[in-house]
Structure formats: C-alpha cells, structure tokens
C-alpha cells in the first residue's frame, strides 16, 4: 500500500547522475531531461564525460556525469552545485562530492561499494561507514541487487542485468521528483521494439525503481517542481548541435539552394555531421572527407558550384582548415565554418568545454584575412546563429565563423519552435547576364557576383592569387593588391550595418557592466539577476557578433566606469575590446573545462563593488 509522503514544492533542483562511462549515465540524464521538458519545467543540462570511450570500470578517471537543472522559473545554467547526486559507485561519489551543496542528498548504489571498487576509487575506508558523509542526506539503495531481483526469470546475462540498473535509478528519481514514467516507456518501446527481452528488462527496472521509492521508507519526502511559465508556444528540447544542424537546413530552405556539408569527425562537433546525414530528403548532402582539410576544401568547391556550403569542426580541426579558409577569403565565396570549441591547445581536453578559439578565428590565417565571426549563447541560440551565419555568408560572399562550444553543443534546453514562415528569406541571385559580368565587380554590399559553373557565357577563373579589381585576372600590381586588401576589409566591416546593436540588460545606470560572449551567457545572466536582487546595480551586454562588433559597442562601453569581462580563456574578448576601443576592462578568467558557476561571477562583482560573498 502506498504510504503518505510529505510533498515539498521546490522552485528549482539540480541533479547530477554519475557512474562509470559504461553505466549509461548520459542516457539516464537525457531521459530525465526529456521527461522534465515534457512536464513543462525550464531546464538546462551539462553532460560531462571522459575522452575514453570505455575507461576501465570503477576508476576515478572513468567517471561520467550528467547534470541537469530544472525549475518552475526561467533558468539559464545547468546549476552551480547539485542538490542531488546519484552515485553508481565509489569513484562517482569521490569525484563529485566536492561539487555538492551543503546538505545535499546523495543516492548511492551500496552494492557497488565493495573492496575492489573502494580500492579503485582510492578509498582506504568505506565512506558509507566512516561518518565522512555526515552533513549530507545519504540514501543507501541496493541498486544492483534490487535490479537483479526485479529482472528475475528473464533470459538475461548477469552483464545485461547489471547494465539495466541505470533505469532502476532513473525510476527512483522519477518517483522522488514526481515525474511520469510514460515518456521513457515510449522511448524504450521505440528503441527496443525489435528486442522484446531488453524492452521488458528496462521497463521492469524503471518501474521497480519507481515503486522502490513508493514502497520503502528510504525517502520521507517527495519533491514537486511546478511547470515553468514559459512564453506561449510549442516547445521541444534541443541540444546545441541539433539546433546548429537544423539551423543550416532552415537556411538552405530559405535560400532555396542545397546544403552541402564537408566534414571530418571530431569531438564535440561530430553530432552535427550525424544529424545532417539523416536529412537526405531535405536535399542535404554530407561528405565525410578523408581529413579536415578535404572537409573544408570540398565545401569551398561546392560553394563555387552554387551550394550553401558548410564545414564543421573543433579547435584542432580548425587549425588544419586555416589555409583553405584563407582561400575562401581570397575567392570571396560563401562558406560557414563551425567551430565547436573544446579545451586546447593541441588535443587538449577533447570532451571538455572552453571558449578559447576566438583569436584563432579572428587572426589564425596568413595575410590580411578578415572573416566575420558570430557566436551562439545558448543551445537553442545555435539555431539562430547558424541561420544568421548563412545569411551573412551568402549576402556578403564571404566565409563566416560560427563559434559554439562543447557545453552548448551537448547541453540542451527547451526551444520555442519558430514558425517557418517567420524566418526571413535569404535571397540568392546567381549572376546570369553575360554582357555585364565581371568576376570581381561589386554591388552595394561590396560583394562580388556568384556566377556558378554551368552558366553559359560566364566562364571565369578564380583562385588564391591576388586578383585585379573588377576583372578578376591575376594581378601583381602593388596598388591593386592594397586596394583589394582594403576592399575585403571594408566589406567585412560593412556587415556592421546589417547586424543588431548590443542590448543592455539590467540597470542602465549601473556601476558595472559585464560584457561577455558565447556560452557564458547563462552564468552571467543568472549572476546579474541574483546581484540585482541583492541590490547591486549591474548591467549586462552579450556579444553574439564578434567581427565586426555591433555598431553601438563603443557607445555602450563608454557609458560604464567599470567593465568586467568573464571568459573561459585568458582574456581573448578582453584583448579585442582593448585593441579596438582602447578600453581597460577587468578580466575574470577560468580555464577548467567547465562553464562558470554564476556564483563565481557574482563573487567577482561583489569583490569589485564591495559586499559579502555568496557561497
């Protein structure tokens, strides 16, 4: 018989699922996210996994985690510190303990705390027995044993049974947070429709976990987080990489030309290739090239021949594409280069997030080689900025960088689905007229004509050698070279007239302005609203356009006495602002492969403006 539990209503909760990289924590987390999104909460996620595909079980470096923050209010970050940790083994407990809120709930799989696993996690004494977790609300659950009991009678190996325990944990969390089982059941049916025994096993584990909460007294309280009051509309949950892929398909549709992706797999950008390769019935061509260079080169070839061409990569891949991007600058062909940034330099931290390729995008080419740069601020904003990158590339006949990062790419949030008709058209006018054609004639935007092979009478040659103004023939004339350099520079600067101004959020008469870019948006926004609630006068601007900067940038910066620039690099935007506007800024830099906690930004502001720190 179901007992009566106290139900406590919470505004927001942060949960982290942690276990071995083979424990299915990413799946568990994303299932909880989907159910929570359907339930109507606002949410934001932070998957965090090791670079090793299957690191040895039980080790500290093999721990994979998935954090999600859900709320009845609008939220912007995956949460600073978890309220709940689900730890599948001792290593998961050890790695994550330091991040938890004081008094947090820790749900542990007590069956995994055997001498072997304790040793692998470098515990001399079992932490469940030495009182070292006093101060936390520790819930011991015999997860492995309970799962095995629930699956008794099914024709499954021990290994398969063990691999189902994440669904037991998921069911238990659904009970604790009052979520329906239905969305995950439907998902399981789709996933395991052809393998009835796995379908049954996972469903049984899920339900058993749920009823374990209901029927035992390990929890005395259940928690309820009401749906958030989001703007009216139809929503779905979307990750940054999904949003990027869909943004490109939308741009191709609105431009009326086929999409071509030339790419080479690289973490954390690969999912964009995966996604786009599904969309063949949208006319999307994906070419998995032999290397990064061939990825971008094939895209340049496709652009020459009239396709909307893109290439997707991360930092090391971008380094390889450098020379070809210079070629796209010289030949003035539309091209979008997506850099899903990760920890660098070199191979760096492949699965961890960072925003340290801004200067590479800005300056990483030989010669005077300007390329427009846009950056996404949230997972769903990747859609908007992918679309925008295409619009700029086509209108101005130029390569364009779209910078996202691992945290946005893998993280997800609710996305208010736009109306297809509300998206702007992207006009494409391939040149047709023989009489007036010149390869480097320019229009009012300083763009040259897009004359594609197959058009009679427009046969012409382009290439990496400097070309004569208007005529496009090879030219070594010194004055022409400087003229063309200035022309390409002016063309990119002119884009300033065609992008939105910076919008100042927060207090217009603030004592301090926080200027940020890319994936720091959520942490900064949350910090600003917390600070203002505490009475601090703080304003915020967020750069989504980094080259050129929005037109009002100088004016906005000049209004504030102090400017704080939080970045997950050593100050790349700071350098650009100092360089371009001769403005001193205060830097806040963190390069630890993870997003800012909003408290880190709050504390920095408080240390500048005076006051007491937050935890």
């Amino acid at each position: 018989m179901a007992k009566d539990f106290e139900v406590q209503v919470l505004e927001d909760v942060t949960i982290r699922f942690a276990g071995d990289s083979g424990d299915g924590m990413q799946l568990t987390g994303s299932q909880f996210s989907n159910t929570t999104a359907l339930f109507g909460n606002d949410l934001n996620t932070l998957p965090d996994y090791p670079a090793e595909i299957r690191a040895p079980a039980g080790t500290l470096y093999g721990v994979s985690g998935f954090q999600l923050h859900f709320s009845s209010l609008e939220i912007q970050t995956p949460g600073d510190s978890p309220d709940v940790l689900v730890a599948m083994n001792p290593a998961a407990l050890k790695v994550n303990l330091k991040d938890l809120k004081p008094g947090a709930t820790i749900v542990v799989n007590e069956n995994a705390f055997d001498s072997k696993n304790l040793k692998l996690a470098h515990y001399d004494v079992n932490p469940l027995e030495d009182n070292s977790l006093a101060g936390f609300n520790v819930i011991l659950v015999p997860l492995s044993k309970q799962t095995a009991a629930a699956l008794e009678g099914l024709q499954l190996s021990m290994k398969d049974i063990e691999r189902t325990k994440n669904f037991f944990a998921l069911g238990l969390m659904y009970w604790l947070f009052d979520r329906p089982l239905e969305p995950t059941s439907v998902w399981l049916e789709q996933k395991f429709g052809s393998k009835p025994v796995y379908l049954e096993a996972n469903k049984k584990a899920l339900t058993a976990g749920y009823y374990y909460g209901e029927n035992t007294e390990v929890f005395t309280t259940r928690y309820h987080v009401n749906p958030a009051k989001l703007e009216k509309g139809t929503y779905r949950s979307i990750s940054g990489n999904e949003a990027t892929a869909i943004g490109f398909v939308a741009a191709s549709h609105k431009a009326g030309i086929p999409l071509f992706l030339g790419s080479y797999p690289i973490t954390p950008a690969t999912e964009i290739l995966h996604e786009l390769s599904k969309f063949k019935n949208y006319g999307v061509k994906t070419f998995q090239a032999e290397d990064e260079i061939a990825g971008v080169s094939s895209a340049i070839g496709a652009s020459f021949a009239g396709n909307l061409a893109i290439t997707t990569t991360s930092g090391p891949g971008l380094a390889l594409k450098t020379e070809a991007i210079g070629l796209a600058v010289m030949t003035e062909l539309p091209l979008v280069i997506v850099d899903v940034q990760r920890g660098g330099p070199s191979t760096g931290l492949p699965t961890k997030t960072e925003q340290s390729d801004l200067l590479q995008a800005m300056f990483g080419r030989n010669g005077e080689s300007p390329v427009p740069i846009v950056a996404a601020s949230t997972p769903s904003d990747c859609f908007t900025m992918a679309f925008e990158a295409c619009r700029i590339a086509i209108k101005y006949m130029t390569p364009v960088f779209l910078l996202t990062e691992g945290y946005l790419a893998n993280g997800s949030e609710p996305w208010k689905i736009p109306d297809v008709d509300s998206l702007p058209e992207i006009p494409v006018n391939y040149w047709k007229d023989k009489e007036t054609y010149q390869p480097y004639l320019r229009d009012d935007n300083l763009s040259r004509p897009w004359a594609i092979p197959g058009t009679p009478g427009l046969e012409h040659r382009i290439g990496g050698l400097e070309k004569a103004h208007i005529y496009g023939t090879v030219s070594y004339i010194p004055e022409n070279h400087e003229f063309m350099i200035r022309m390409r520079d002016a063309k990119v600067k002119k884009i300033q007239d065609d992008i939105p101004n910076l919008e100042v959020l927060g207090d217009k008469d603030a004592d301090l302005l926080i200027a940020a870019w890319g994936g720091t948006y959520g942490s900064v926004s949350e910090a600003v609203s917390n600070l203002r609630r505490k009475g601090f006068k703080v304003a915020q601007v967020h750069f989504k356009y980094l080259n050129p900067f929005p037109k009002n940038t100088e004016e906005v910066l000049s209004k504030y006495k102090q400017i704080l620039v939080p970045e997950r690099n050593l100050g790349q935007l700071s350098k650009m602002l100092k360089m371009e506007f001769l403005r001193e800024v205060i830097q806040l830099n963190k390069v630890q492969g993870s997003p800012f906690k909003s408290s880190e930004i709050e504390n920095k502001v408080i240390s500048i403006l005076g006051g007491n720190n937050v935890n």
Partner: protein, 347 residues
C-alpha cells in the same frame, strides 16, 4: 572505343581549340612540356560534345597548376595539394559538370597524396591529369616524390635518398577505374588518352611524362627521341601483344607474374608467345606488373591505357541515395523537422 579508333577519330578533328583558349598570356617557360598538354586539352575539348560552360578545371599549386587560367572554361586555381578535394565538392554540388584536375607530381603525390588516393577510392566521376616532370619546378628545382633515388638537386646535393612513387600503381591500388599514361611529346597519343579519359564514367587518371626543360631537362629523353623511343617505349593496346623495338623485334612474355623480354628474331619465341594486353582485366595484378617495368633493367616504359573497369561512382550513389530516401520518407518538410522528437505546448 579502342585507342586506335580514338586516334583515327582525332585525325579528322575540325579544330576549334581556340574556343578554349583564354586571353591570358601563357607564362610557362619557353619549351615547357605543359604547352603541349594545354594544346591537346584545348584540341580535344570541342570533341566531347560538352558545352563549354560545363567544364570546370581545378588545380592546386605548382607550374602546371596555372593550367585553369589558360582554359576558357570555369576554373579554380586553389591551394597546394587540395585540387582533388575541391573538385570533389564541385562535382557533388553539380554532377552535370565535367570536372578536370590538373596537378603536378609534388601537388598530387606529396602534399595532396591523401586527397588523390581518396578521390580514386571513391571513384568520383572526374579526370585527374598528372603532369609528372619528376622535379619541383616552381620552387626552383628540388627532388619530387617521383624523382629517381640518387637524384642530385638543390635540396639533395649528394643525391636523394628517397624512393619514388609509381603514380600508376598508386591510382590502381587506390581504386581508380581508368588509369593511363602518355607523354607530352606524343600529341596524338596524348589526345587519344584524354578522349578515352573523358569518355570514362568514374575517376580517370592520366600520368603524363612531362619535360621540365629548366630543372630536369631530358628526364624522358630516351622515351621521346626518335632514335631511342622504339626501344624505350611499349604502346599498350587492348588485345594486342606487347611488342617494342626499332624493328618490332622485341616482345614481352609473362612467366607467371614475371615479365621477360624476348627476342622475336631468333625463332625461339613468336608473337603468339607474348603477353596480350587486356585493359578490362578485372584483376589489377597485371597493371602493377606493367607499372613496375620502370624498376626493371632494359624494360620499356608502357604508355596507353593500363586499366579500365566499371564501378558505381560516389557522385552517382550520393544522388541515388538522396532520391531513395526522399522516396521513402517524402520530401522534407521544415516545419516537421522543427517539431521532430517530443514537443509540448505552453498556453
């Protein structure tokens, strides 16, 4: 079409090569073998029945990579080594185009080696013309990946210690479906090879022995000099035995996979004992044996079509798959794509 038929056909070509010449001054060194290759390309182009606007010539970096500037078609003079990758993108964007790559031995086999082998592997429907002069010309004379071992150049004053590639072998091994070789100073043969390549559906590769009269003059002298040519070149023709020599007095027979030069004048061997060339052999083995003649003492250099097979092309398969999936799933609807997965309403 056999090589012979093609050669006969080219005899009667009404030349409109001028239509394919641009108004740009050709800037190769006087006497460069590239002039002949350009002339033959301009000469055969009108014969292909392809409108001029559908030709795209793509090149990388090097002397020969200036080629597109001199062909009045669409052209792309790109960056070092990347021509096959750029050409791949062109073809995949618009499969109606006739896509040609002009590349030197450094461009195609050193810095661009990866793109070359993968274009062959995918059997993309494009023509790859290798201008093999066995030297780096544009950087003024360093050994190339096809230079013979021991070659003394500015970067190898005591002789190169690199072994050379055999480009024909690379192409065959990588999956090219048409592989041929010709010589800059044999315009008729070169035209025939270009016409054969153009007619092939799939990746067609022609290695052209090309003389660099500044930095590697005479590299192919024995193959082009009227006196020595018969003893140094064997012309491959489908269904014909391998015969060479001034008086057609020498032949090549196969002992297992070992080629042996035999004297046809002594009565010990006759023409019927010789290796009969089969361009369409599905087994690539004999193409390798032919290419390896250059490693063997006294063997002539084969020119002609080494191999031609039929395989589906990457571009063909790509578009077939787009059609197939569209048929299966229906034409993509953007609004549906936006709503894929679970959605919910907020009122």
């Amino acid at each position: 079409m056999s090589t012979k038929e093609v050669m006969e056909k080219t005899e009667n070509v009404k030349l409109t090569a001028k239509d394919f010449a641009t108004n740009q001054d050709v800037r190769w060194c006087p006497g460069c073998g590239d002039y002949s290759i350009l002339a033959q390309a301009q000469r055969i182009s009108p014969e292909l029945g392809i409108p001029r606007e559908k030709f795209v010539w793509v090149s990388g970096i090097g002397c020969s990579s200036r080629f597109p500037y001199y062909m009045d078609t669409y052209g792309f003079h790109s960056i070092h080594g990347r021509a096959p990758a750029i050409a791949t993108g062109v073809k995949l964007a618009n499969p109606d185009l006739s896509v040609w790559v002009a590349a030197g031995d450094g461009d195609l086999l050193s810095i661009g080696g990866n793109h070359f082998i993968h274009a062959c592997r995918r059997n993309i429907d494009m023509k790859v013309i290798l201008f093999n002069n066995r030297i780096y010309g544009l950087t003024k004379g360093q050994y190339s990946p096809t230079s013979e071992k021991g070659k003394k150049t500015k970067s190898s004053p005591y002789g190169s210690i690199d072994f050379p590639f055999l480009p024909v072998n690379m192409a065959v091994a990588s999956g090219a479906t048409f592989v041929a070789r010709s010589i800059d100073r044999d315009p008729k043969h070169l035209q025939a090879m270009m016409l054969r390549a153009a007619a092939h559906h799939g990746l067609a590769f022609i290695e052209i022995y090309q003389n660099c009269n500044i930095f590697n003059d005479g590299a192919y002298e024995p193959l082009t000099n009227k006196e020595t040519k018969p003893d140094h070149v064997v012309v491959l023709e489908h269904g014909k035995p391998l015969i060479f020599g001034k008086n057609n007095d020498k032949g090549i027979r196969l002992d297992g996979m070992n080629p042996i030069i035999v004297d046809l004048t002594k009565g010990e061997y006759s023409v019927s004992d010789l290796w009969v060339h089969d361009e369409f052999d599905s087994n690539p083995g004999r193409s390798f044996v032919l290419a390896h003649f250059s490693d063997l003492k006294d063997f002539p250099a084969p020119i002609g079509v080494f191999r031609q097979i039929q395989k589906s092309t990457y571009d063909g398969d790509l578009f077939a798959q787009l059609d197939e999936v569209t048929k299966m799933k229906g034409k993509g609807d953007l609004a549906k794509l936006f709503r894929s997965g679970n959605t919910w309403e907020v009122a």
